[in-house]
């Protein structure tokens, strides 16, 4: 049996008779990067607040590091680093002082402050008051704070929210390194699949407070096999040519396109060869890369307006 770092059973949170989160069974294994996905308002932050003991669940149980959160909250939190919703810091203090305030509470050696500043690349800006920081720098300071106590588990709630593309890339690279270099398990929430797709090993998708998918990212990929589209001249004739050669195809969605479905490399090569040999022009051979995102949208349903 796997060792679960986070395991929830039937976890629920009710606000005024309405469930914000219900019957949630999360299972997060050691050393994984777990992408916690769902549209805004699906219950991601509510779940994370329960995992940190900031709010009390209306039902169900939470075990972190195999121990019940309710009983062992303080000793569990000692090994957890977190960043909830937006980075919180004291604007009138410098980055070093902000980290020092946390360091005094968790009691790690002072040298650790320089270490985490170096990890997030803030060493140069460390002596400036935080109120003059850009959002990206505040976000990085938030991650530095989360790393300060040498955590075994990192819980990051939308850490790339509001960042520009280069900031997103930077944070992503940073998070990818966590399990590899430090053996840290990571739970990262996002409303964008594309954002966690490249780093998460396992994804959980939450919709209206319920977990509707939880498996490896590869299993999600196989469910969303990519479709190959051809753009050709005289589409109907071309379809006839392919059909006569026994190649399955259909009229595509775009102008003069044919869809080959999830055909393998050999099948695509054959189709192109046959078309060219029978005098058709092949303008484009495209793989529809959006299908994973589409599947995600299907899973989260209509309210997943992205």
């Amino acid at each position: 049996m796997k060792e679960w770092i986070i395991e929830t059973r039937g976890l629920g949170k009710r606000y005024k008779g309405r469930y914000a989160v219900s019957n949630l069974n999360l299972q997060i294994a050691k050393g994984e990067i777990y992408g916690f996905l769902g549209p805004n308002g699906a219950g991601k932050t509510t779940t994370i607040r329960m995992l940190l003991g900031l709010i009390k669940p209306s039902g169900g149980s939470i075990r972190i590091f195999g121990r019940p959160l309710e009983k062992d909250r303080l000793s569990i939190l000692r090994k957890v680093g977190s960043l909830v919703e937006y980075p919180s810091n004291y604007g009138h203090l410098t980055a070093v002082q902000n980290l020092e305030a946390i360091r005094r509470i968790i009691g790690v050696p002072a040298s650790r402050i320089d270490e985490v500043l170096a990890i997030v690349g803030l060493t140069k800006e460390a002596k400036r008051p935080v109120k003059g920081y850009s959002l990206g720098m505040k976000q990085r300071l938030g991650i530095a704070s989360a790393l300060l106590g040498n955590p075994e588990l990192l819980i990051l709630d939308e850490p790339t929210n509001g960042l520009d593309p280069s900031g997103i890339l930077e944070i992503r690279e940073l998070i990818k390194e966590m399990p590899r270099q430090y053996g840290i398990t990571v739970l990262i929430s996002s409303h964008l699949l594309s954002e966690v797709e490249q780093m998460a090993s396992v994804v959980g998708i939450i919709r209206r407070g319920e977990l509707v998918f939880q498996d490896t990212i590869n299993s999600l990929r196989t469910q969303s096999q990519s479709a190959v589209t051809l753009r050709v001249s005289e589409r109907e004739d071309a379809l006839g040519v392919l059909a006569s050669r026994g190649i399955e195809a259909a009229i595509g969605a775009g102008d003069s396109t044919l869809s080959l479905g999830s055909a393998g490399d050999a099948a695509v090569a054959l189709a192109v060869k046959e078309l060219v040999q029978s005098g058709h022009a092949v303008y484009r051979v495209e793989e529809d890369r959006k299908t994973l995102e589409k599947l995600f949208l299907e899973i989260v349903g209509e309210d997943g307006s992205l």
Partner: protein, 249 residues
């Protein structure tokens, strides 16, 4: 949570306040008190009761209005950074118990108030020096007054801390505190309501020894004040703690 981690929490609270302007508020009330004391007219007063009158004059504005108001400001201030930057979430995601966090905040307010009372000794000395009666300072009366005034502010600190934890607004708890403090001017004169009105206790505690004010609630014995202060303290701390424990962060 052990004692050492509580000390760490206190250290963190101190650091948060260290670069703020809150410390500038500490000497304001004593400065005003020294000024009022220095400008008071003692010429027609018999020599024997000069000091008693001076001490009451110096403490009057402070005990009646400024100290209860400062208590509210300090309480709001220690919660301000948590409300503005999402600090409640960040702090309580650390291995920190809510009781300890409340304790650390309360300690900071109490320490700031104690600092004000200490500076007040300087104000009393300065005013006495101006009138040339430094030699007749009744230290026992002065120190008991300052200590009682400080103790009488602690229930207010607990109540204001409760309000400040609940309200993310900085001004709302302050406005209520000021609105509750101003009636002091009337309430202390009432032997019916004065003993039970929390905002009036600092004045009753600090000025009761004055000698001149033997009317209204002022002629109550010190024990009476301490009972009111003690009971309201327990009530307000319990309320604030219960509230913080149930608060959804």
């Amino acid at each position: 949570m052990g004692f050492r981690s509580f000390l760490g929490l206190l250290g963190a609270e101190r650091l948060k306040l260290s670069r703020s302007l809150i410390w500038l508020l500490v000497p304001i009330s004593p400065l005003l008190a020294a000024l009022i004391g220095a400008m008071s007219n003692l010429t027609d007063v018999p020599e024997a009761s000069r000091y008693d009158l001076l001490q009451s004059t110096v403490f009057m504005l402070h005990a009646l209005l400024l100290m209860p108001i400062l208590t509210g400001i300090f309480s709001s201030f220690v919660c301000r950074y948590e409300h503005s930057g999402g600090g409640w979430k960040a702090t309580l995601s650390l291995p920190v118990s809510r009781t300890a966090l409340y304790g650390a905040k309360f300690f900071m307010v109490a320490a700031l108030l104690a600092a004000v009372q200490l500076v007040m000794i300087g104000a009393l000395l300065a005013a006495s020096a101006v009138h040339g009666i430094t030699g007749s300072i009744d230290w026992q009366s002065a120190l008991v007054s300052l200590l009682t005034g400080w103790l009488a502010c602690l229930p207010l600190a607990a109540l204001q801390l409760w309000a400040s934890i609940g309200w993310s607004s900085f001004a709302a708890p302050l406005a209520i505190n000021v609105a509750m403090t101003i009636p002091n001017i009337l309430v202390v004169n009432s032997d019916k309501y004065g003993p039970f009105y929390p905002w009036a206790q600092p004045a009753l505690g600090m000025l009761v020894q004055g000698g001149e004010q033997n009317f209204g609630a002022f002629n109550l014995p010190l024990e009476n004040i301490l009972v009111t202060v003690g009971c309201s303290f327990v009530l307000f701390v319990a309320g604030g703690l219960l509230y913080l424990h149930r608060k959804e962060i």
